[in-house]
């Protein structure tokens, strides 16, 4: 027997276990992988930033005594009835169809307790969400499923969806398992088909047309409603500038970590920008047009806690929006359902086959039995608790930086832990005055 010592078996860093499993899956099925949620790969994010806090040259506010406001107005540019929200965190657009009616109701309840807004999705407005959302933003998507002037008028704002972070340039997708009779009726589709929404709007092309489209929406609603434009983060400077030119009151900028109900895995992981790299160019565009704070900027994609909120605001956003985190607060991917996740071949924290409609938590499903597991009142309260904690956390940081309103946080309050984050957020690398890519870097 050869006594030569053998090297330890080594797996390829390139062809890792996940890549190999995907190759096997693709070879077997012949179709790309479809899943929900946002990018799972590690990208530069808010964790790569730190606040400096007060020091000799900055005065903090007393944590439990001095006021630190969190409210803001949205839609002050043109709308006759702008929206006032009490916290700088809104609930992102998620459709009835992708989510159960109970989940939509819970989102409305939680948001309303905290005085903030929730948003419809690619499937129209349901009574559950209108009835339980004090402030409801109505999305106008390329599919126009369920679109009607009555809902436009009973909405509090209108969000024109050009794109979303999980799939900039892609349309919606809802597979047959979730096209129940009610969902099909709302969307004027045959029951049980695999629905693939358009990626472009049917009646306008480009910002010049969009300006006219916005004029039409304003005319239909007698110029009352704030009009948002939502874009996936890809060319944030130009997209923001063009959204301003088109007449937006509010711009929603969604990074690649933002979730989707369903699309191709390759789309989610390989198209678009992480939100950290998108905020400063968008803010720069607003500043160049003298529109910063006049057209409000809401950013989303991977917001998890009050620190993320504070960092987004410090980079120049007016508010943030959450989707995946809100679903987690309702119970999505909760270890409580681990035995059922295991039956689906996954584990709590990794479940992303939202398109299959078998969500044990009763959130991303149209199965009446699964949906009934979700108690809208109780889970709405959980969402309100979570929003409250995030707000308190953001206030804690803002006070430590000496700010009497969270929107007063600024880039000067931040440093970066990595060169990449410093370059993207345009703040100095910690302990240095170096901002990679800035003119002083030349």
């Amino acid at each position: 027997m050869d006594a030569t010592p053998r090297t330890t078996p080594r797996k390829s860093a390139t062809f890792d276990d996940y890549s190999l499993s995907e190759i096997r899956r693709a070879a077997e099925s012949g179709i790309y992988d479809i899943r929900g949620a946002g990018a799972k790969r590690k990208v530069p994010h808010f964790d790569d930033l730190l606040f400096l806090g007060a020091s000799m040259s900055r005065y903090p506010l007393e944590g439990y005594r001095e006021k630190c406001a969190t409210d803001l107005w949205l839609g002050t540019r043109f709308a006759r009835k702008p929206i006032h929200i009490k916290i700088p965190i809104t609930i992102a657009g998620m459709s009835f169809g992708s989510l159960s009616a109970q989940a939509k109701e819970a989102l409305g309840r939680g948001a309303s307790i905290m005085g903030t807004s929730t948003t419809t999705g690619d499937g129209g407005m349901t009574e559950e969400e209108r009835g339980h959302s004090e402030i409801l933003v109505y999305q106008l998507l390329p599919s126009r499923y369920g679109m009607n002037p009555d809902d436009l008028r009973r909405a509090d704002a209108i969000e024109i969806v050009v794109g979303q972070g999980a799939k900039p340039g892609g349309g919606g997708m809802l597979l047959g398992q979730k096209i129940t009779e009610r969902v099909a009726e709302m969307r004027t589709l045959p029951v049980g088909i695999d629905q693939r929404s358009a990626c472009r709007h049917p009646d306008w092309t480009g910002p010049d047309d969009l300006e006219i489209k916005i004029e039409e929406l304003r005319e239909i609603t007698d110029w009352e409603k704030p009009i948002y434009i939502k874009v996936g983060a890809s060319r944030p400077y130009y997209d923001t500038a063009l959204a301003v030119k088109s007449g937006a009151d509010v711009i929603v900028l969604d990074g690649m970590q933002g979730g989707t109900a369903a699309t191709q895995e390759v789309f989610i992981e390989h198209v678009g920008l992480p939100i950290l790299g998108a905020i400063r160019p968008a803010v720069q565009a607003l500043q160049d047009l003298d529109m910063h704070r006049k057209v409000q900027l809401i950013v989303s994609g991977g917001i998890r806690n009050g620190a993320d909120v504070a960092k987004a605001l410090a980079l120049g956003a007016d508010a943030v929006s959450i989707g995946s985190a809100a679903l987690a607060a309702l119970g999505d991917n909760d270890p409580h359902w681990e035995h059922e996740y295991a039956k689906l071949g996954t584990t709590a924290g990794a479940y992303d086959d939202w398109h299959e409609g078998r969500d044990p938590a009763g959130i991303s499903t149209q199965d009446p039995e699964l949906g009934a597991r979700l108690h809208p009142e109780l889970t709405g309260r959980r969402l309100a608790n979570y929003l409250s904690v995030m707000t308190l956390e953001a206030q804690t940081i803002a006070r430590a930086c000496g700010k009497s309103h969270v929107r007063n946080l600024e880039p000067e309050d931040l440093v970066a832990l990595t060169v990449e984050a410093a370059a993207m957020a345009k703040v100095p690398l910690a302990g240095t005055d170096w901002i990679p890519g800035s003119k002083s870097d030349w």
Binding site: N148, D203, I220
Partner: protein
């Protein structure tokens, strides 16, 4: 009969006045002069009145119309009667792109030609075009009826769902999953019904039309269909 000169009255004022009307209004026939291609004229109407517009209109005329009758004595820009819910919109001239886009009900009649994407994503509207329609018409059409007296351009009915398409002239090409289907008496009756509502009672023989609709092969993902798109 209110008469509004858009050369003098701001559009916003006109639309606001139309939106204030109640179903019981006595002002049931409005005449609009000098539209000069303005956009969103008579958009968002919600009562059964008649609005007669003398001249060409811009984008989204009668957008999201509900209950009203809108007569355009001239041509219409992009998206005339887009997302119409009910009522009747009649364009005596040509219509630009996306006429009747995403419409959910009501009837759109175009006496001239309609450009590309006529009836795109239609969801229940009925559309009658006396002339021809451009490319990608009835793209992703979900429900409703499109009747074309003339010809249809490329990719008619691409990715169509359950809308019914009837074309009297030639079709340059059919889009993905759109096929010609046999005409039966029920389809001739359907054409007759739509044409009668559009004011063509007995003028046109329904049997001269060919029927197109969904092959329903792309309703579900299947690897063997990848090349169809």
């Amino acid at each position: 009969m209110p008469e509004v000169d858009l050369g003098v009255t701001p559009l916003r004022e006109l639309n606001a006045a139309l939106h204030r009307l109640t179903p019981e209004t006595n002002e049931r026939h409005w005449v609009i002069d000098h539209p000069a291609g303005r956009h969103a004229i008579a958009a968002g109407l919600n009562v059964p009145v008649t609005v007669e517009i003398n001249g060409p209109v811009g984008y989204y005329c009668a957008g999201m119309n509900k209950h009203a009758t809108v007569l355009v004595n001239g041509s219409a820009g992009v998206g005339v009667a887009e997302n119409m819910m009910s009522g009747f919109v009649h364009v005596t001239g040509d219509a630009s792109q996306s006429a009747g886009a995403t419409g959910r009900g009501g009837l759109l009649r175009i006496d001239g030609n309609a450009s590309s994407r006529c009836g795109i994503s239609m969801k229940g509207i009925d559309i009658v075009v006396k002339g021809s329609v451009g490319h990608m018409s009835a793209f992703m059409a979900q429900a409703g009826t499109l009747v074309v007296f003339g010809d249809a351009g490329d990719s008619l009915g691409d990715s169509i769902y359950e809308a019914r398409l009837f074309v009297r002239g030639s079709v340059k090409s059919l889009g993905a999953d759109c096929i010609e289907k046999e005409m039966h008496d029920e389809h001739k009756r359907a054409i007759h019904q739509v044409l009668t509502r559009a004011g063509f009672d007995g003028e046109v023989d329904p049997s001269e039309f060919k029927r197109y609709g969904s092959a329903r092969k792309l309703y579900h993902f299947h690897v063997d269909h990848a090349g169809e798109y």
